[in-house]
Structures are given as C-alpha cells and as structure tokens.
C-alpha cells in the first residue's frame, strides 16, 4: 500500500511540475517523474501479484531511455534555434 501511496505522491509532484514550470527541461523532468511514478506502481503491484509487473516496468525503462534521447534532442534543437527553452514562447502553431 505504501508503494502505491509513494507512487501517487510522485505522480502528483510530476503533474504539479508540468503545470508550473516554464522551462522545457524542467517540464521534461517532471514528465520523467510521472513516468517513474507509474514504474513504481507497477513494481508495487508485482510484489503483490507476481512478476509480470516487473517485466512491464523494465520494458518501460528501456523505452523511456529512447524517449529521453528524442525529447532531449528536441529541446536542444529548439534551444539552438531560439536561444530559449521557455514553453510559453512556443505558440507558433496556434491558429
């Protein structure tokens, strides 16, 4: 139970971070927090119900590694392009 509580807490922290931070790096960091909160929940379930949860968590970690590479690459590209990573400035696609 405490696993799930910790996971929920971590997830809420992540959401809060996404909603309040203006820098793309920190928004990205908060998303990672949410991701890992989900991983924690999976591992917690695995303790109660069997190993499948751990397998899922490992898969998530492996894919998240790739996702981090893409996400950070995008952020670096944006920074190179406009000398800033503030997400509020990125509104060019607004209709």
């Amino acid at each position: 139970m405490s696993f799930l509580l910790a996971s929920a807490l971590l997830f809420a922290l992540g959401v809060y971070g996404v909603l309040t931070r203006r820098t793309a790096i920190l928004v990205f960091l908060s998303i990672e927090l949410m991701l890992n909160a989900a991983n924690l929940a999976l591992v917690g379930f695995a303790r109660a119900h069997g190993l499948e949860g751990q397998v899922a968590a490992l898969t998530v970690i492996a894919i998240a590694a790739a996702e981090v590479a893409v996400g950070l690459g995008l952020i670096v590209a944006i920074f190179r392009h406009r000398e800033s990573t503030a997400v509020d400035d990125l509104s060019e696609l607004r209709g």
Binding site: V18, T20, D88
Partner: protein
C-alpha cells in the same frame, strides 16, 4: 440545303454585326445588313421560281427539322425580305448618329432570320423557334433605347404579354402531338383528311394555337402591348410591329387552315375576336396624340380585319390583306418617322400641323398611306378590305353581322386615317420647328413602298377581273367551299364599300379640318386616349394582385433567409467560443489534459 440560305444569311449578319458592329464605321453595318436581306430576298425569289423547295434534317427524336417553301410561305418570305429590305435601307438614314448603330442592325438581322425560320417552318416546333426568336428580337428592339426606364418597361410588357400567347401555342402543340404523334404541318394536314378522331380535343388544340396568334398579333384581349411597343425606333415599328411580326398570327392560322377549316366553331370565335379587335383598334385610334400610337392602333384594327377574313374561311383574303397592309402600314410608319426626323424628335400631333408645304416628298407618302389605309378606291387597301367584306358573305363561316361590322369599321378607319393626316400635314403650324425633308436614303424606300401601296391591290381584283393571288396560294391552303356571289351583288358591294370609304374620308377631312365636333366627342376622345382603360383594368385585376403575391412571397423568402442567417450566426458564435480555448500556451493544454483525465477517471469511477 439552298432553303437554309435565306435564314442563314441574315443570321450571319447578326453574328458579324453583333461581334464587330461596334468597330465598323457608320454606314457599313447598315449597308451590310441591308445587303444580306436583299440577298435573302433574291435567293427566295430564285427558289420560288424554281417551284418551291423542301429541306429536312434529323433533329429531335420524332421531330425532324423541316422547312418548306410553298406559295404560302413564299409570299410571306417575299413580304418579309422585300419590305424588310426597304425598311433596312430607310434605317441606314434614320438611325444615323445613334451610338447603338451596329447593335440596331444586328438585332434587325436577327429578326429577319427568325421571321424566316417562322415562315419557312414545316413543323410546329421549328415554327416555335422562329416564333420565340422574333419575340426576342421585338423585345430587344422595343427596349433599344434601354436607358429610358419607360422604354425598358414597354419591352418587358411586350415580352410578358406575348408569353401568355406562347403558352397557348405550346399547349396546342402538346395536344396535337398527343392526338397524332407528329408535329409536321404537312403530316398533320394528311392526318386530318377524313373524319376527325376527337373533335372536341382538336378544337381545344385549335383554340390554344389561336391563343398564340392572339398574343403575337395583338388581338383582344392581349392587344395591350402593341401601342407601348412604339417605344422602339420608328423602323422597328414599321418592320416588326406593322408589316411582318404581328402578321405571324395570321400566318399561323393560314398555315393551319386545314385544322381551322375543319373546326367551324373555332373559326367563328376567330372571326368574332377579329371583328372585336378591329373595332377596338379603330375606336382607340381617335384619341391618341402620339403620331406613332395612332398608326399602332390602326395596326391592331387592321390585324383584326385579317383575323376576320381568316375566321370566315377566306385564308387567301387574309394573306392578301397581310400583303397590302405590309406596304401601306410600313409606308405610314416610315412617313411618320420622316416627320419625326423632320421635327427633331417631336412625336405629339398637337404640336405638328401645316407640314404640307415643308415636306414635299413625305407629304405624298403620307397621303398615299393614309388613303390606302382609309380604303380610297383603286388603292391597295381598298381592294383587300373589299375582298374581306365580300368574303364575310361568300365564305361558309361568315354572316351578314360580320359584313355590317366590317363596314362600320371601314368608316371608322377612313375617319381616323384622315384625322392622322389632317393633324400632321394640314391646318396651321402648331410647333416651333424648322422642318427639313428627309435625305434620299430615307425617301427612296418610301417611294417604292408607296408604289406597292398603290399597286399591290391589283394582284387580286374582284370576280370577273383577273385574280392572280388566289390560284397562286390555293395549293397551300385548305379547301373551303365558298358560295361565290353573283357578279351584280359583288359589284354592288364593291360600290357600297367604295361609297362608304369615300364618305368616311370626306367626313374625316371636314370633321378634323374644321374641328366641328359634336357634343359627345370630347368625352369619347378622352376614353379613346386611354385605350378604353383596358390597361388600368388589367392592372387592377391581374398585374397588381400578382405583384402583391410576389411581394408577399419575397417577404416570406426574406424571413426564411433571415432565419438561416440566424442559424449560421449561432454556429459561428459557438465556433468562435471554442476556438478561444486554443490559446497557444502549452501549460493551459496540459492543465486541460489533466482535467480531462480526472473527468474521465471520475466518470469511470462513478
């Protein structure tokens, strides 16, 4: 194929003048148009001398495009192109300096082409093409000076009134098609020999076709458009609204003579309508003050005479009057045009008078025209009118009542013809003009027309004397058994109508020269001036209710449109409100996303 030429030549002129007329120097469009009509005339004469012609090409399923040149259509072709050519030449002078010079002759050639299609047609649908085409040309030419809204209204009026008749024409065609499965005129003529299959339905078809003729020929009750049609230039009045187009109705009845000779009741109705129209036109001519409107009402009256003749079964007599009328009425109109030209556009007879000494040529044209119209013995109008009067007694559908009515109209005709002449040419000068005689290009057509107005009557003289026209037209018309009058009676009638015409002319001359009017005359003149208020009655009974209905419908339509506009505005507002959600801030999207997830989870939980 050669039969297509008379139609195609003026049509070519229409195309060329319509496309390039604006760039041509002044007399060129007129010369070109006149030349093409003359060429058409010559081709027609050549074909007629070679014994007629026939043309047929595949067209609609079951309805070939067929043309026929027989004596009947040949006579009309010669009138249309011959008189048409003279009026074209006259218009070269009359329209000089008009900014729409090329356009005028383009329309004129279109008219000739369509009129020839009407005349040469050997099936009703082909005739209908010409029928509508001349209506269009008439509309375009009445509204030729379209910048004057009154003239444009006149053009619309003519078109709309004609449309009522055209509906009759179409329905008549539909019934004939349903009865016989063919609309070829020669085919129907063969089919109608022998006993009739469905006489009452056939009579309805005949009446409906005649309704078309009523509209086109301005008969009671659809005569209201013709006086207003005088808004067009004078050559238009002469060509379309006197000599040719308005006689298309008479031609239709003569062309369908095989049908009408089998329907005595319908023929009787035609004769009654003709006589009524003759009366109406003659009585209305007395009060008019516009030089052209007097002649226009006389045209209505003379067309009534033609229908009287066609109604009693004397089809060749109707065409005889078409022929003589084409000459003297075109002459009257062109003489009026010369007067208008001489006075610099003045059309009110109250400001004319005393032109006898100023217009040494035109005065003779007008005198010959007026006397021929009034039926002075030995002029063309006398012979054709006398033939009509004699026909009312000799032909099977006639009667003494028609004769007496016709005789009375003859007196009236002589009276108003003299009124027209006296008011314009005699008496003291009432205007402040310096009249000048027309140029030769306008005088020569009138010389020739005057010659025709004098001589064309000798084509068909009363009985023992030679009659060229009747045997010429006979093969194309239905056989009607006439009871020829005894020579004594016939010549008695001739003497009577001569006496009546002379009496009318003399009375008219003294009456209007001395202005010795009886007491009731001014009241009658006031009624006559308004055409016996027929226009107002139509306005009150038909036009205004229709206008009110259409305005109500327009109002309803606008309400409906406003409703649709409201609906559209609502959707647009909703779209605008939703579009405001897209602010461009990433964190707002994230927040909405989170709220959405919470909502979905909450719903699932609940």
């Amino acid at each position: 194929m050669a039969l297509l030429l008379p139609i195609l030549l003026p049509l070519l002129g229409f195309a060329l003048l319509g496309l390039f007329g604006k760039r041509m120097r002044e007399p060129l469009p007129g010369v070109m148009a006149s030349g093409l009509v003359l060429a058409s005339f010559l081709v027609g004469v050549g074909l007629l001398l070679s014994g007629g012609a026939r043309f047929e090409a595949a067209w609609l399923p079951g309805i070939p495009f067929s043309l026929l040149l027989d004596p009947l259509s040949g006579l009309m072709l010669l009138i249309v192109t011959g008189v048409g050519f003279l009026i074209h030449v006259y218009a070269i002078g009359y329209m000089g300096g008009d900014p729409g010079y090329g356009r005028f002759f383009a329309y004129f050639n279109l008219f000739i082409a369509m009129m020839l299609a009407l005349v040469l047609a050997d099936s009703y649908p082909v005739m209908f093409i010409g029928w509508e085409g001349v209506g269009l040309a008439s509309f375009l030419l009445i509204g030729f000076w379209y910048k004057n809204p009154q003239y444009a209204d006149s053009a619309r009026k003519a078109f709309i009134v004609n449309r009522i008749g055209d509906l009759g024409f179409m329905l008549g065609m539909a019934i004939l098609w349903a009865l016989y499965g063919t609309l070829s005129i020669s085919g129907l003529r063969e089919a109608l020999e022998g006993p009739l299959r469905n006489p009452s339905l056939l009579a309805l078809a005949g009446l409906l076709l005649f309704l078309g003729a009523i509209g086109k020929s301005a008969q009671v009750p659809l005569m209201v458009w013709l006086p207003d049609a005088m808004a067009g230039p004078t050559p238009v009045s002469a060509l379309i609204h006197a000599a040719t187009m308005v006689t298309a109705g008479v031609y239709l009845v003569a062309r369908s003579s095989f049908l009408y000779s089998a329907l005595p009741d319908v023929s009787y109705a035609i004769a009654v309508i003709g006589l009524l129209t003759a009366f109406y036109g003659a009585l209305s001519a007395f009060g008019q003050t516009d030089i052209k409107r007097i002649v226009a009402y006389s045209t209505i009256s003379q067309l009534g005479y033609m229908f009287l003749a066609a109604g009693v079964g004397a089809y060749w007599v109707a065409l005889f009057h078409v022929l003589t009328h084409a000459f003297f009425k075109a002459l009257l109109f062109l003489a009026s045009g010369s007067v208008i030209h001489a006075l610099g556009g003045e059309q009110d007879v109250r400001r004319m008078g005393g032109l006898w000494k100023h217009l040494p040529r035109t005065r003779w044209h007008a005198l010959i025209g007026a006397l021929a119209l009034g039926g002075l013995p030995f002029l063309s109008g006398f012979f054709s009118k006398d033939a009509i009067l004699a026909a009312t007694l000799a032909y099977p559908f006639g009667g003494v009542g028609f004769y007496l009515g016709g005789l009375l109209v003859a007196v009236l005709t002589a009276l108003y013809a003299m009124r027209w002449f006296v008011l314009v040419f005699l008496g003291e000068e009432r205007g402040h003009h310096h009249p000048h005689e027309a140029p030769p290009v306008m005088l020569w057509p009138n010389h020739l027309l005057a010659l025709g107005a004098v001589l064309s009557g000798y084509l068909a003289l009363p009985h023992p004397l030679p009659n060229l026209l009747e045997p010429f037209l006979k093969p194309a018309l239905a056989e009607v058994e006439a009871h020829p009058l005894a020579p004594g009676a016939e010549w008695g009638l001739v003497a009577l109508s001569a006496a009546v015409a002379l009496f009318g002319l003399y009375l008219g001359y003294t009456f209007f020269q001395r202005k010795a009017f009886p007491a009731w005359y001014p009241a009658f003149e006031a009624w006559s001036r308004e055409g016996f208020y027929v226009d107002r009655v139509y306005n009150a009974l038909v036009v205004n209710p229709l206008k009110a209905l259409s305005e109500a419908l327009l109002y309803g339509d606008q309400g409906l449109l406003r409703g649709y506009f409201g609906l559209g505005g609502l959707v647009r507002g909703a779209g605008g409100a939703l579009a405001r959600l897209q602010v461009g801030y990433l964190r707002v999207y994230a927040l909405l996303f989170v709220l959405g997830v919470l909502l979905v989870l909450g719903v699932m939980r609940w």
